[in-house]
Symmetry: C2
C-alpha cells in the first residue's frame, strides 16, 4: 500500500461539495470513415475495460484509518473494481452542438467523485454533429501524477491512423510496454521528471504545507524586494467578482486557435508565445469585466507557470516557476498592454535567474503558501493571491489517432477555488492551441462569451501589430448584467444563446466573420466602444515602436474603476 504525500492529502482535506479537487480533460475526435458511432464507442469502452491488472492508481481506492483524512491515507486495490462504473456512455440532447457538449461537461465537472472507489471517471459522449464524438475524463488531483496522466493519455493515441489497439491503455501491461518504448525511442519531447515538475508546481499553487517554514522565510524576502516590476501574490491584487466564494456549479467552454496566428502576434511584439496568450486573455478579461461586471482599477494578476530556460515557443523545460503576471487590464491600448505584460513576466523570470532549480521550487511553493493559511480562515476571497490562473501545457505537435479516430482537440478542465473562480488552461496540439476555460457558474454568469472576447482581443493585437485589416472589429453584442438581480427572473432569459464553435479561428475565417459582422457594427453601445477604444493618454503605437515599448518600463497612470454603462 502506497502512502499519500502531504500535498496529495491536502487535496482531500481541502475538498468540499463547492470546491471539488479533480481535474478533467475533454478530447474531441472524428469517427473513422465508415465507422458506426455506437459500435465504435462500444469497442473503445470494451477495450478500456479489458484489463487484467490496472495501472495505478486506476484500480486503487483510498484507505483511511480511525482518524479519517486527518490520519495517514493509503492507496489499496479496490476489491470489487467495477469498470462499468468508471467507464460510462453518455449522449447529448439534440441538436448535439458544442453548446450541449459544454453543458454536459460543465455538469459532470461540477460533481464530486466517489471516495470509496478509485478516483476517476471516463465518459464516452455520443450525439455530436459532423461525425464527432467526445471523451471527458475526470481524475482526482490527489490521485493524478502529472507525468503519468499525460503519458497515459499519450499511450491511448498513435500518430498512425491505421493503428488499432488490442490491449487496454489502462492496463499495467500496456503501461510497461509504453515506458520501455519511451526509453528506447527517446522521441517523446518531455521526460517524466520534467512533467512531474510542472505537476508539482501546479499542485503547490493550490496550497501545500511542504517546507512551510523555509517557504515563509523566502516569502518575506519576496515581499520586501525592491524590484518594482515584480508582481507578488496578494500584493495589489484587486478584488473582483471572480475572487469571492465559489459555489459547486461550473461553466465550461473550449475553443481552438491557430498556433501560427498567436505566434505571429508574439513575434511582432518580440515576445514569447506565452506573452501573446496572456495578452489575448487580458484583453478578453478587460472586455468581460467592463461589459458584465466591473473592471477593477488595479490590474488583474494571473498565476502563470513559466519556463526559465532560453525563450522558447512553448515555455517548457526543466526549470519551471509559478510567477504572478500583471495582466495590465487597466491599459486600453493592446500594444501597450502586451508591453506591460511582457515587462511583468520578464521581471518575474529575472527574479529567478540566479537561483538553482531547488531554490526556484522552494520559492514557487512559498508563493503558494499564503493560500494554505488563508483558505481555512475564509480570508481567501478578501485577499486573493491571484485573480485567475492561466496555464500553458505543452502537447503533441502532430495529428494523433485513437483506433483510427482523429483527435481534433484536447481541452483541459482545471480546478477553481474560493478566491479564484476562473481557470484558463491551454494545450498546444497539432497546428492549434486548445483553450479550456472553467469558472464558477455563479461568479461568471456570461462566461461563455470569453471565447468571443478572446478572438476580439487577438484581432486587436493583430491590428496593433500592423497586420492590415480594414473592416471594423466584430464584437459580441454588449450586454450589461446587473450585479445584484432583484427580480426572480431566470438569468438565462437575460442572455442570448452562446455561440459555441470549436473550429480553430484562423485569420481567414476571422476575416469572414468580420465581413459578416460589419452590418451589426453600428449597433455598438458606449460601453462596447469604451472596451475597444484606445485610451487618449497613450499614442497609437506602430509596429516599430511596439518592441521599444516592450522593453521600456511602462508609465502607467492608474485609471479610476470603469463602471459599465447601461446601454439603454
Amino acid at each position: 500500500m502506497k502512502k499519500l504525500s502531504m500535498v496529495d492529502k491536502g487535496f482531500l482535506i481541502g475538498e468540499s461539495r463547492e470546491q471539488p479537487m479533480h481535474v478533467g480533460g475533454l478530447n474531441l475526435y472524428t469517427l473513422p470513415e465508415g465507422a458506426d458511432e455506437q459500435s465504435f464507442l462500444e469497442g473503445l469502452a470494451q477495450n478500456m475495460r479489458d484489463a487484467e491488472a490496472l495501472l495505478p492508481p486506476f484500480g486503487d481506492r483510498l484507505k483511511t484509518g480511525r482518524l479519517g483524512t486527518l490520519g495517514n491515507i493509503y492507496w489499496e486495490p479496490d476489491p470489487s473494481m467495477d469498470m462499468d462504473y468508471h467507464i460510462r456512455h453518455s449522449a447529448l440532447p439534440k441538436p448535439g452542438r458544442y453548446r450541449e457538449l459544454f453543458n454536459l461537461v460543465s455538469r459532470l465537472h461540477g460533481t464530486l467523485l466517489e471516495r470509496s472507489r478509485p478516483l476517476w471517471e471516463m465518459h464516452l459522449i455520443e450525439g455530436l454533429q459532423n461525425r464527432q464524438f467526445a471523451v471527458y475524463t475526470k481524475t482526482h488531483h490527489a490521485a493524478i501524477d502529472g507525468a503519468r496522466s499525460i503519458h497515459v493519455s499519450r499511450n491511448m493515441l498513435s500518430p498512425d491512423p491505421n493503428h488499432v489497439r488490442t490491449d487496454s491503455p489502462l492496463s499495467l501491461a500496456s503501461w510497461e510496454a509504453y515506458k520501455a518504448n519511451l526509453r528506447e525511442g527517446k522521441k517523446q519531447p518531455y521526460s517524466e521528471s520534467e512533467l512531474r515538475t510542472v505537476n508539482d508546481i501546479i499542485k503547490s499553487s493550490f496550497g501545500s504545507g511542504v517546507n512551510a517554514i523555509n517557504a515563509l522565510r523566502e516569502l518575506g524576502r519576496a515581499w520586501t524586494d525592491s524590484s518594482s516590476e515584480l508582481a507578488v501574490p496578494h500584493l495589489h491584487v484587486p478584488r473582483s467578482p471572480i475572487n469571492g466564494k465559489i459555489d459547486g456549479a461550473r461553466r465550461f467552454v473550449a475553443q481552438s486557435w491557430s498556433f501560427d496566428r498567436i505566434k505571429r502576434v508574439a513575434a511582432a511584439f518580440d515576445g514569447t508565445f506565452n506573452d501573446a496568450v496572456l495578452a489575448m486573455c487580458s484583453g478578453a478579461m478587460r472586455k468581460y469585466m467592463m461589459l458584465h461586471s466591473e473592471l477593477p482599477a488595479d490590474s488583474l494578476k494571473a498565476m502563470v507557470p513559466v519556463s526559465l530556460r532560453q525563450e522558447s515557443d512553448l515555455d517548457a523545460g526543466n526549470a519551471i516557476a509559478a510567477i504572478s503576471a500583471d495582466l495590465a487590464t487597466d491599459i486600453g491600448d493592446p500594444a501597450a498592454r502586451i508591453a506591460a505584460i511582457q515587462a511583468s513576466v520578464r521581471a518575474g523570470k529575472d527574479y529567478f535567474r540566479g537561483m538553482s532549480n531547488a531554490e526556484i521550487e522552494l520559492y514557487s511553493l512559498a508563493m503558494a503558501f499564503p493560500t494554505l493559511v488563508l483558505l481555512p480562515l475564509g480570508l481567501i476571497s478578501r485577499l486573493p493571491p491571484y485573480n485567475l490562473a492561466i496555464s500553458n501545457v505543452p502537447g503533441i505537435r502532430q495529428p494523433m489517432y485513437w483506433n483510427g479516430a482523429r483527435l481534433d482537440g484536447t481541452y483541459p478542465l482545471s480546478i477553481v477555488t474560493d478566491g479564484m473562480a476562473l481557470n484558463i488552461t491551454l494545450v498546444t496540439y497539432d497546428k492549434n492551441v486548445d483553450f479550456g476555460i472553467i469558472a464558477c457558474r455563479r461568479s461568471m454568469p456570461a462566461m461563455q462569451r470569453l471565447i468571443d472576447y478572446m478572438e476580439d482581443s487577438l484581432q486587436e493585437l493583430e491590428d496593433a501589430a500592423g497586420f492590415a485589416v480594414k473592416t471594423p472589429k466584430s464584437g459580441a453584442k454588449p450586454k450589461v448584467v446587473k450585479k445584484k438581480a432583484t427580480a426572480r427572473k431566470p438569468v438565462a432569459k437575460a442572455k442570448p444563446a452562446p455561440k459555441a464553435k470549436l473550429k480553430p479561428k484562423t485569420k481567414a475565417n476571422a476575416k469572414t466573420k468580420r465581413k459578416a459582422a460589419t452590418g451589426t457594427a453600428t449597433k455598438k453601445t458606449a460601453a462596447s466602444k469604451a472596451a475597444s477604444s484606445k485610451p487618449k493618454t497613450k499614442p497609437k503605437t506602430k509596429r516599430a515602436s511596439v518592441k521599444k515599448a516592450a522593453r521600456a518600463k511602462v508609465n502607467r497612470a492608474k485609471p479610476k474603476a470603469v463602471k459599465p454603462k447601461n446601454a439603454n
Copy 2:
C-alpha cells in the same frame, strides 16, 4: 425567511457524499402523436422556466449563520435564480433501452445537490425507444414537503389528453389556482394533512430527534412487550450484505405490474394489497440472497408504513404507522410465507389499535429513534433497525397527461443509508403498480435481477393460490457472485446483461414468458432448485388451507443459513 424544522435540519447534518439525502422520481411518458421530440421537450422546459415567482421551495436556497448547519438554518430566495441550472436536457446513448435509462438515472441519483442553490434538479431525458421520453426529478428531503411534492407533480398532469398548460407548473400563481381548485372540487383522494402524515413518518424513519425523551420511554415499552408476533426494530434483525456501510454510487431499476394481478393474489390469501406486495418482495429477496450472497437464518425485516384504518386496497388514510414487517424469508413455501407476513403485519397494526393518532405518531418516531443514536456511532451496520424499506404510495388511478404526453409510469427513487442499502417504493398509477427499486451499487451488484425475481415470486404466489399454471417457472439463470472477489476482473463481466422491461407484467405475458423459457428449464442448478423448492418440513398448502394458515400462528423452525452452491 422560513426556519427549517429539526427534522429537516437532520437531513442536512446527516448528509454525506456516500449518503445523499434527496429523493427522486422517474416519470415515463409517450410523446403525443405527431410531436417532434426535441421541440416538444424544449417546449416543456421553456414552460417550466417561465415563472415570474416560484412556488416555495423551488426558488429558495439555504441560509446558515456562523455555526453552519449546526446553528439555525433558514430558506431565503436565491438572488440569482438560474433556471437553466435546475431544468436540464439529457439524452440516452444508443440504443436507448430502459437499461441505458436506469444507468443514467442511477448516476444522477448518486450525486449531491448543490447546497448554495435551491435544492432540486429536473432532467428531461430524450433518446428512448418507442416515442417515449422520461423526466427524472431530484429534490432534497430537507426541502420537500411530501404533500407539496405529490401535489406539485399532480399539478403538472391532467386527465385530459388535449389539455395544454400555459403557466409554469412551478409558478406560485399556478399553485394557488391548483389549491383553489382542490378546495372546490374535493375530487382529490388525499388531503394535504393526510399526505403530510405519510411524509413525516417516512422522514422520521430516517432519524429525528423530535420528542426524543418521550420517544425513548415509548421505545422501552415496545422492547419489553410480550406480544410474540410483533417485530421490533433492531430485535432479531439479521445482518446481511444489504446492512453494511454504503458507498455513494447507486443502482436503480423500475418495473410495472398489473394492479389486478397482485390484488387477485391478495384476495386469494384473504390479505391486503400490501400483504401481497410484501410477499412478492420477500420471495424476490429470498431468491436474490440465495443466488447472489447468503440467505440469513433469521428472516429479513422491512420498515413498512401501513394504514391503521379498516382494510383498504391502498393502505392509505390519516392514521399511518411505520411497522416492522417480518418478511418470512426463512420460509420456502410461498403460501406459508405470505401467511407469516400477514400475521406479522396484523400484529404490528393490532399494537396500534388502542392508540390515538398522536400516540401512534410518537411511537413511530420512537421506533425510528435508535437510528439517530446508532448512525453517528457507526453502529448502524452492526445493529440494523430493519433490513430494507418497502413503501407503498397511493397514486392516481386513471391515465394522466402532460401537455398531451401520456404518463406511462411513475417510479420513485428513495434514500438508502448505512445499514439499509435497499429501498423499494411503489406507486399505484392507472391500472398498474409502479415499483422503483434503489440500492447501494456496491452492496447489491446484481440488483437489477430483483425485477425478474419479483415476477418469479408473484408467479409462485399465483401457483400457490391455485391459479392453474402447468408450465415450469422461469427463472433468471442462477449465478453465484463471490462475496469477496480476489481477481481484478470487472464485476460487469461476471453478470449477463440485465433485462430491462417496464411493460406491466400481466398474467398473459407471464405465460408467454414461461413457454419461451421451458427449453432452458433443464439447465437449473442445485442452487436454483433450492431457491424455488418448497421445504420438506412444510406440507403443500392448497388455496382453502391458505386462509387458515394466514390466521394461525406459523410454527417456524429456524433453518440454518443457506449458502449458495457454486453451479460448477
